[in-house]
């Protein structure tokens, strides 16, 4: 299990190769990469609670490993200032079969979005740059996370 919180960018292909590590019992790898959307000049600043962010991501990863028969899994979440097109988050799940890998990856993202202590502040850029605004939590994300509660 790999959990990393870092300012640097990541190479998803290299990370997944490392995670698989030559083992031959993996039949399915599901990955999700979250990117920053936005127009020219836009910026996104990700603040996090150093210490708790790593701890909470580890708790979420352990919960996924407990619920599905995974071979291994990985979460990388960046912090700091990002530009449109930049990678924000990487989740990868390895399993013998794709159903478990898909479900666990979706679970990881849903729980991460509502539990991991990160906050996004965005500045729209463009011709009339405005004040940077904190992104508001979305009710849809809460709903997406709640559906996993019933499966316990």
């Amino acid at each position: 299990m790999i959990v990393k919180v870092q300012a640097e960018d990541f190479d998803a292909a290299a990370e997944i190769r490392t995670l698989i590590g030559g083992r031959t019992d993996v039949g399915a790898v599901v990955t999700f990469t979250g990117l920053m959307r936005g127009g020219e000049g836009a910026t996104l600043t990700l603040e996090h609670y150093a210490g708790m962010s790593e701890k909470e991501l580890t708790t979420i990863a352990e919960e996924a490993a407990h619920r599905w028969p995974l071979t291994d899994l990985l979460i990388i979440h960046r912090h700091g200032t990002l530009n449109p097109g930049d990678q924000i988050v990487l989740v990868a799940t390895l399993a013998a079969h794709r159903g478990d890998a898909f479900a666990a990856a979706e679970f990881l993202m849903d729980w991460l979005k509502t539990r991991a202590p990160f906050w996004k502040k965005e500045e729209a850029g463009g011709k009339t740059p405005g004040e940077a605004k904190w992104v508001e939590a979305r009710a849809d994300d809460e709903k997406a996370a709640e559906r996993w509660e019933e499966k316990e």
Binding site: Y49, P117, K121
Partner: protein, 83 residues
């Protein structure tokens, strides 16, 4: 007590962290929030919408009934928006 503030809670209060000594009558998270909100306008502005406030004691999410004491690290922040 070590207090940490994040995102707009940090901006409204005007600092990311501070150390405060709790008065004896403050023994729960809810009482701590009430006590902080009464410390001044900035604190009140940060903490007035309680439904938008999350609290972690020693890096674990807790509810308003959770006990607090001077040795704790208490973080106060808005709902998270990572991912």
């Amino acid at each position: 007590m070590q207090l940490l503030y994040f995102a707009w809670v940090r901006e409204r209060i005007g600092t990311g962290e501070e150390t405060l000594s709790l008065p004896g009558e403050v023994t729960t998270v809810g009482q701590l929030l009430d006590w902080l909100a009464a410390r001044g306008e900035q604190y009140a502005a940060a903490l007035d919408q309680r439904s938008h406030i999350r609290v972690a004691v020693n890096q674990t999410y807790v509810g308003t009934d959770h006990p607090v004491s001077d040795g704790d690290e208490v973080a106060i922040f808005p709902p998270v928006t990572g991912g």
